[in-house]
């Protein structure tokens, strides 16, 4: 350990080391999990917080941004739990099974765990780790990554949601994982969730993240997904954290033969938001869609890292990202599609587009293709632009006020992604959320 500590430089890194030493014996899991945590922390300690010189983090210098390592969040009291029930108002009208993770802890008391569909199990990660549930063997095994932020998550993972769908199991209504931070002080929460879908299983999962304004809390959350043969998953992640929050999220998804994966990220809240999407198309004939919409204003900083790996032949992937950036906000998109030599007949298309609403808004767009197979159809593109003044005039000449014309154009811009979401209720909610964002902009 001594050698590792010497490499540590910042106060936050030192505080993280102290925190890990202090809590590691109290974190859930058997000796194997404890070893996994220690190894993960060592991975982190050997490189420290990601900084500019780490390519995948070059636009988000966590070492500079993360000044402190606040204490781990503690369990919410009854009043805070009651408030959590009202979380994610934009989806309030939607029929869903809601599972609550408050201040980093799965709260079974307020979660809807009754009458699970046949072949479906839902439990807390803490319980699964404590009971050495065989499912936890998947942790860290879905997609290999040496990312330092993910390593921190593995070291500190305290709780989360573990979901399994047996072969052929189907969710009769969407599953809404509601992540809430309730404390007004600076805290940190490390949640890790797992979704294992058997052959032919099908699910719609919505994940929402939110917390109080004015609190400099930190969320480091990860979800590992195994999409079995012929299974179908639609996941929508809504990031609506408080305006001072730091949110780091990692999706690790491994997809098998003939499966369908549609993942959409909708980002509108948080001071610093980092979404990492690491997807492995490990089987043949997969249909994958990775998409995102970010609506950024003020001083928000949002960074999306996408890495899709085509490993087997005949898979299709579509990557569609749209960002609207106002004020002095900044959006970063780094996307990479890798096509291994074994992945012949890959059909992959990535497009990321940014719409800048102010002269001081910023967008960095870095799409990349890495192709080792010769018989593939791959393409990528990116655009950065401002609102089309000619279109705006055309609309205004029909009597539409300026702000309304802008709003229609912005909605059309993000609508391309939102309209592709399968669940009608979610689609409508995100459309409304976009409209509300535009109204607040005025």
């Amino acid at each position: 350990m001594a050698a590792d500590v010497r490499l540590m430089k910042t106060a936050a890194e030192l505080a993280l080391a102290d925190a890990f030493a202090a809590v590691k014996s109290t974190l859930p899991g058997d000796a194997a999990v404890a070893a996994q945590r220690t190894a993960a922390f060592e991975t982190f300690a050997s490189v420290g917080l990601p900084h500019r010189r780490v390519e995948s983090w070059r636009y988000t210098d966590l070492r500079a941004l993360l000044r402190e390592a606040p204490p781990l969040a503690s369990a919410a009291g009854p009043e805070a739990l009651a408030r959590s029930l009202a979380a994610c108002p934009m989806l309030a009208g939607m029929e869903a099974r809601r599972i609550y993770v408050v201040n980093g802890a799965f709260v079974s008391d307020i979660s809807d765990l009754a009458n699970l569909e046949p072949g479906v199990s839902i439990s807390s990660l803490a319980t699964a780790l404590g009971a050495a549930d065989p499912l936890v063997a998947h942790l860290g095994q879905t997609v290999a990554s040496s990312d330092a932020a993910l390593a921190l998550n593995t070291a500190f993972m305290g709780d989360g949601v573990v979901i399994a769908l047996a072969e052929g199991a189907t969710l009769s209504r969407p599953l809404h994982l509601v992540f809430v931070t309730t404390e007004a002080t600076a805290t940190a929460a490390y949640t890790r969730s797992l979704l294992v879908m058997g052959k032919g299983a099908s699910a719609q999962v919505i994940e929402s993240h939110e917390g109080p304004a004015g609190a400099a809390y930190q969320v480091n959350t990860a979800l590992e997904v195994v999409v079995g043969e012929g299974a179908s998953l639609e996941r929508v992640k809504i990031t609506a954290e408080g305006n001072d929050a730091l949110h780091i999220s990692t999706l690790l998804a491994r997809v098998a033969d003939g499966a369908k994966l549609a993942n959409a990220n909708f980002t509108l809240g948080g001071a610093i938001i980092r979404n990492q999407l690491l997807v492995q198309l490990a089987g043949e004939g997969i249909d994958a869609s990775l998409s995102g919409v970010s609506l950024l204003a003020g001083k928000q900083h949002s960074d999306t890292l996408l890495a899709v790996e085509h490993i087997a032949p005949n898979c299709q992937s579509r990557e569609q990202f749209r960002t609207v950036v106002d004020d002095t906000a900044r959006d970063i998109f780094q996307g990479r599609i890798s096509v291994r030599q074994s992945a012949q007949k890959t059909d992959a298309r990535m497009m990321s587009r940014a719409l800048l609403l102010s002269d001081t808004a910023e967008s960095d767009n870095k799409p990349e293709l890495e192709i080792f197979a010769d018989d593939v159809q791959c393409g990528h593109g990116c655009t950065t632009g401002s609102l089309d003044q000619q279109l705006k005039f055309y609309m205004m000449s029909r009597g539409i006020p300026e702000k309304e014309a802008e709003a229609l154009l912005i909605q059309a811009f993000v609508g391309e992604v939102i309209d592709a979401i399968g669940h009608e209720g979610v689609r409508a909610a995100l459309t409304d959320a976009t409209r509300n964002w535009l109204i607040e902009r005025k």
């Binding site: 055309y394 000449s397 009597g399 059309a412 609508g415």
Partner: protein
């Protein structure tokens, strides 16, 4: 009679200092149809943009009074609500905004500004479908994004539909006939004629007498080098067809 539109000694330029409108005068009374003909590059489209308030087109002298209001003080959407409509020479495509939603927003924005009751969705849909039928625009085109993938003629029909829905006092038709086949020309002209009334006026910009066979003007103006250089009755259009603009261009210079 109070004129509907009065342009007095108008001078206007395009951002960057190019002067295009050069001391223009024109009075249009309610109910009148005026045609403007003139050589390419004379400034006809520019005039239509100046009237409708396009950014980058600056009035540097004179004034334009429309229904008693100085247009320069109004933004483009306010001008539209006041009853001004420009049928674009090249209608724009708006990806992602459905025709129906666009029409709904436009109609109700105007009504709201004028303090009139807004149209409900069913009312609007009924109205739009009726107009669509008259103009040969099917339901599918109404659902599609505004003008996206429309043919040139379909775009012009769509412009006509917008005009008929919004019922402006003054419609400026900038080459409404360009790109139209003979049948479409009739359809669009019938739409325009249906709007003619004692209180509605039109300013029809065209290169061809043919359109004026369908939309018969009360007055024809020759527009050259940024102003009206000659005015006559509807027979002037026929003369121009034979003689061209050479004599008037000399006059303008």
């Amino acid at each position: 009679m109070t004129p509907l539109l009065e342009i007095r000694d108008l001078h206007a330029e395009i951002a960057g200092g190019r002067k295009i409108i050069n001391g223009m005068n024109l009075t249009i009374n309610p109910g009148e149809v005026h045609a403007i003909m003139g050589p390419n590059g004379a400034g006809k489209s520019t005039l239509s943009y100046v009237l409708s308030g396009k950014p980058g087109y600056e009035i540097t002298g004179g004034e334009v009074i429309f229904r008693g209001v100085n247009l320069q003080e109004l933004s483009p959407d306010e001008r539209a609500a006041q009853g001004l409509f420009l049928c674009f020479q090249y209608p724009l495509e708006i990806p992602g905004v459905s025709n129906m939603a666009f029409l709904h927003t436009a109609a109700n924005s105007q009504r709201k500004k004028r303090g009139e009751p807004e149209l409900t969705s069913p009312e609007l849909v009924r109205k739009v479908r009726e107009l669509g039928k008259q103009l040969g625009i099917d339901t599918d085109m109404l659902k599609r994004p505004v003008n996206v993938g429309f043919s040139g003629g379909e775009k012009k029909r769509n412009e006509t539909l917008q005009m008929m829905l919004l019922e402006p006092y003054l419609s400026i038709l900038d080459e409404a006939d360009s790109g139209l086949d003979i049948d479409a020309l009739k359809v669009v002209s019938n739409g325009v004629n249906a709007m003619r009334s004692p209180e509605r006026s039109m300013l029809v910009i065209t290169h061809y007498q043919r359109l004026l066979d369908y939309i018969v003007p009360d007055v024809v103006h020759v527009f050259a080098a940024g102003r009206i250089v000659h005015t006559g009755g509807k027979e002037l259009a026929l003369e121009l067809e034979a003689t061209g603009y050479a004599q008037y261009q000399n006059e303008a210079a």
